[in-house]
C-alpha cells in the first residue's frame, strides 16, 4: 500500500524540502538533472522569448495602424515580421508546452521520479539556449528579412548572411526538440509504475506522446533543409537555386514537410492541456477518453500527409493539389471530435470559473473559429483567392496564438501552484484572461476581412497610391486600426499576467497540494513537489474520477476523503 504524502501532513510543514530549496546556488540549477528545474528554466526562457517576439509584433501593428510609413521603413518592417515569426515559431510555440509544462508535469503525472534520460533533458535545454543565442546574434548583426519561411531564391541572395546564422540556430533548436521528444517517448513507454496501463494515462500524456512522435519523425527534415540551404548558399550545390539548375518549389516541399507536422507539435499538447483542465475544473470525468486519446494519435499520423496545402498556388501540380486538399479535411475530423467531447464533459459537471477555466472557454471559442476558417483554405477554389492574404494570417494566429498559446497560459495557471507553491491573485487572473480574450479577437478578427478584400501578406504599407481606391484604403485603415488597438489591449493583458505571476512569488498565498481538486498523480505531491516526486511508487488509478477529493476550508484546497 503506497503511502503518498498527502496535503494534510505537508502543507504547513515549513521545514519540508522541495525541489526548489533542496539545493542552493546558481550552479545547482545550471547543471541540474531534475526535470522540474529544467521545466522551470524552460518556462522562463520561452516566456522571455514570447516577450521579445511580442515586441516585434507590437512594432508591426504600430506600423500598420495607418497608411503610409508610421514608424519604420520597408526594410525594417520586413525584418520585424521575419523575426517575429521565427522567434514565435521556433523559440516559443514549438518548445513551450512540451519543454516547459511537459517536462515539469509528465514524470509526476506518470508516477515516475524523472524522465528516462535526465542528461538528455538538460542538453535539450542548452541546445535551446544555443539556438536562441544564434538567433539573437543574427538580430544584432542586422537580422534577416526573408520571412520565417526562408523561401528560395530570395534567401539565397548574396549579402543576406543572417540567413546562415538563423538557419544554424533553427538547426540546433531542432535537436532540442528531438531530444525532448525522444525522452518523452521512452519515459512513457518504460517508466510507468505498475498499474499505469495505456488507458489509465492522463490525456495530457497521450497528447505529449503523440507530439513526441512527430517531434522525432519530422524535425530531422527541418535540420536537413537548413543544412541544404546553407550548402546552397556557401557551396552552390544547385538544389534550390534556379540559376544553378535547382528548383525553388523543392525547398518548399522540404520546408513544409516539417513545418506542417510542426503546427501539430504546437496544438496537440495544447489540446492535451485542455482535456486535463476541462475535466478538473468541471470536476467531471472526461467524455470520450478513448476517442480523445485515439484522435491525438490520428492527428499525429495525418499531419504528415498534408504539407502540400501550404503550396496550392506555388506551382504544385493540380493533381497533387487535389490529393492534399482531400487529405487536409481528414485532419479536421479528429479535432472536431475533441471539441464535441470537451463540450460534453461540461454537461452535468460542476463548473468553476477559475482563471484556467476561463482560458479553456476562450480556447474553445477561438479554436472553433480557427478551425472553421481552415475550411476555405482547404478548399482549392477558395484557397486560390485567400492564400498569401491576411485571411491566412488571421487563421494561423487563431490556432497558434489564440489556441496553443492560450492553452499554454491556461496550463501555466493550472500548474502554477504546483510548480511554485504559491497561489496567484485569482481575480487579477480572471480579469487578465478576459482582457486577453477581448484583445485577441479585436486584433485578429478584422484580419479575416482584410484578407478576403485582397490585402496581401507581408505588406509594410497599404495606401491609395499602391493600388487601392480611396474608399478601400479607408476601410483597410479602419480594420488595421482596430487590429492595432486590439494588440495593445492584448499586450496589456499579458503584462498584467506577468505582473501578478511575479507578485505571487513574493506575496502569494502558500498553495495547498491540490487547489483545484484534480485526481491525477501530480496533485498527490506537495506544492511544490519534493525533489524525488514520490516517496514510494504510487498506485495509479483512473485519474478522471474526482469523488475521492473533497474541499477542505482549512486547507483552501482539496484533500483525499478518508479511505476506510
Amino acid at each position: 500500500m503506497a503511502t503518498i504524502t498527502t496535503a494534510d501532513t505537508d502543507i504547513h510543514d515549513e521545514s519540508g524540502s522541495n525541489y526548489i530549496n533542496c539545493s542552493k546556488g546558481i550552479l545547482s540549477w545550471i547543471i541540474t538533472l531534475d526535470h522540474k528545474r529544467i521545466g522551470v528554466m524552460y518556462v522562463i526562457a520561452t516566456l522571455a522569448s514570447f516577450l521579445l517576439g511580442g515586441l516585434f509584433a507590437l512594432g508591426i501593428r504600430t506600423e500598420l495602424i495607418a497608411p503610409g510609413q508610421t514608424i519604420m521603413d520597408a526594410d525594417t518592417y520586413n525584418r520585424f515580421f521575419t523575426l517575429h515569426g521565427a522567434i514565435m515559431t521556433f523559440l516559443v510555440i514549438i518548445p513551450a508546452i512540451p519543454g516547459a509544462l511537459g517536462n515539469f508535469v509528465l514524470p509526476i503525472m506518470l508516477g515516475a521520479k524523472d524522465v528516462a534520460f535526465p542528461r538528455m533533458n538538460l542538453s535539450s535545454f542548452y541546445l535551446w539556449l544555443l539556438g536562441a543565442a544564434l538567433t539573437v546574434y543574427s538580430m544584432l548583426q542586422g537580422g534577416i528579412d526573408t520571412g520565417w519561411t526562408f523561401y528560395t531564391p530570395y534567401s539565397l541572395e548574396e549579402g543576406r548572411d543572417g540567413v546562415f546564422w538563423v538557419g544554424m540556430g533553427v538547426f540546433i533548436l531542432g535537436f532540442s526538440s528531438i531530444f525532448t521528444g525522444l525522452n518523452f517517448i521512452v519515459t512513457v513507454q518504460r517508466l510507468r509504475p505498475p498499474g499505469m496501463t495505456w488507458f489509465k494515462l492522463p490525456l495530457f500524456l497521450w497528447a505529449l506522446y503523440a507530439t513526441a512522435i512527430i517531434q522525432v519523425l519530422a524535425t530531422p527534415v527541418l535540420g536537413i533543409t537548413m543544412l541544404l540551404l546553407a550548402a546552397e548558399r556557401i557551396m552552390g550545390i544547385g538544389i534550390f537555386d534556379p540559376a544553378l539548375g535547382g528548383d525553388p518549389i523543392l525547398f518548399q516541399h522540404f520546408f513544409w514537410f516539417y513545418s506542417h507536422p510542426a503546427v501539430y507539435i504546437m496544438i496537440l499538447p495544447a489540446m492535451g492541456i485542455i482535456s486535463e483542465l476541462i475535466s478538473v475544473h468541471c470536476r467531471r470525468e472526461i467524455f470520450g477518453y478513448k476517442m480523445i486519446a485515439f484522435s491525438s494519435v490520428a492527428i499525429a499520423f495525418f499531419s504528415f500527409l498534408v504539407w502540400g496545402h501550404h503550396m496550392f498556388t506555388s506551382g504544385q501540380s493540380p493533381l497533387m493539389n487535389a490529393i492534399f486538399s482531400a487529405i487536409t479535411f481528414s485532419v479536421a475530423i479528429p479535432s472536431a471530435i475533441k471539441i464535441f467531447n470537451w463540450l460534453l464533459t461540461m454537461y452535468k459537471g460542476s463548473i468553476a470559473f477559475t482563471t484556467p477555466m476561463l482560458y479553456v472557454l476562450s480556447f474553445i471559442f477561438i479554436f472553433a473559429i480557427g478551425g472553421l476558417t481552415g475550411i476555405p483554405l482547404a478548399i482549392l477554389a477558395t484557397d486560390v483567392q485567400l492564400h498569401d492574404t491576411y485571411f491566412v494570417v488571421a487563421h494561423f494566429h487563431y490556432v497558434m496564438m489564440g489556441s496553443t498559446l492560450i492553452a499554454m497560459i491556461a496550463g501555466l495557471h493550472h500548474w502554477w501552484p504546483k510548480i511554485t507553491g504559491r497561489m496567484y491573485h485569482e481575480w487579477l487572473g480572471r480579469i487578465a484572461a478576459m482582457i486577453v480574450f477581448v484583445g485577441f479577437n479585436l486584433t485578429f478578427f478584422t484580419q479575416f476581412m482584410l484578407g478576403t478584400k485582397g490585402m496581401p501578406r507581408r505588406y509594410h504599407d497599404y495606401q491609395e497610391g499602391l493600388g487601392w481606391s480611396v474608399e478601400t484604403t479607408e476601410l483597410f485603415h479602419t480594420y488595421h486600426f482596430i487590429s492595432t488597438i486590439g494588440s495593445y489591449v492584448m499586450a496589456a493583458g499579458f503584462f498584467m499576467i506577468l505582473f501578478y505571476l511575479l507578485q505571487s512569488l513574493v506575496t502569494g498565498r502558500k498553495a495547498p497540494a491540490n487547489p483545484w481538486g484534480g485526481a491525477s498523480l501530480e496533485w498527490e505531491c506537495t506544492s511544490p513537489p519534493p525533489h524525488h516526486n514520490f516517496d514510494e511508487t504510487p498506485t495509479p488509478e483512473y485519474c478522471y474520477k474526482f469523488d475521492h477529493w473533497v474541499w477542505s476550508d482549512s486547507e483552501q484546497g482539496y484533500v483525499k476523503k478518508a479511505l476506510q
Binding site: 515516475a112 506551382g315 504544385q316
Partner: protein, 124 residues
C-alpha cells in the same frame, strides 16, 4: 526506476571487429559512390545512388546499431521511419516530375526571346 520491461539481448556487446568492419565497408562504399558519380548512367543515376545508400544504411543499422540482435519491434520502428521518408520523396518527386514540361518550354515568343538573351540576372 523502471518497473517493467527487460532489455533485449542483455549484455551483448558487439566485438570491436564489427565496428571496424562497418567503418571500412562505409569507406569502401563511399569510394564507390564518388566513382560512380563520375559516369553518367542516364536514368540509372538515381537508382544506383539510392542502392548504395541503402546498403550503407543497412550495414549501419544492422551492425553498428545492433538491430541484427535486437527485438523485431525495433526493426519495425526503423522501417516505419523509412516509410515516411519514402512517402516524402515519392510525393515530392512526383510533383516535381509533373511540372517538368513547364521548365522553359513555353510557347511565348517574347518571353522565350528574353530568356534566351540572358541567363538569370543575378542581383550582384
Amino acid at each position: 526506476m523502471s518497473a517493467d520491461g527487460e532489455h533485449s539481448a542483455p549484455g551483448h556487446i558487439i566485438p570491436f571487429s564489427y565496428t571496424l568492419g562497418t567503418f571500412v565497408a562505409l569507406l569502401f562504399l563511399t569510394v564507390i559512390t564518388v566513382g560512380v558519380a563520375q559516369f553518367d548512367l542516364g536514368a540509372l543515376d538515381m537508382p544506383v545512388a539510392l542502392l548504395v545508400a541503402g546498403v550503407k544504411a543497412s550495414i549501419v543499422s544492422l551492425f553498428f546499431m545492433h538491430l541484427r540482435w535486437d527485438r523485431p519491434i525495433n526493426i519495425l520502428v526503423l522501417i516505419g521511419s523509412i516509410f515516411f521518408v519514402v512517402l516524402f520523396l515519392v510525393i515530392t518527386m512526383f510533383d516535381t516530375g509533373q511540372n517538368l514540361d513547364l521548365k522553359y518550354s513555353g510557347d511565348s515568343s517574347k518571353v522565350k526571346e528574353v530568356l534566351e538573351s540572358q541567363s538569370f540576372p543575378v542581383v550582384q
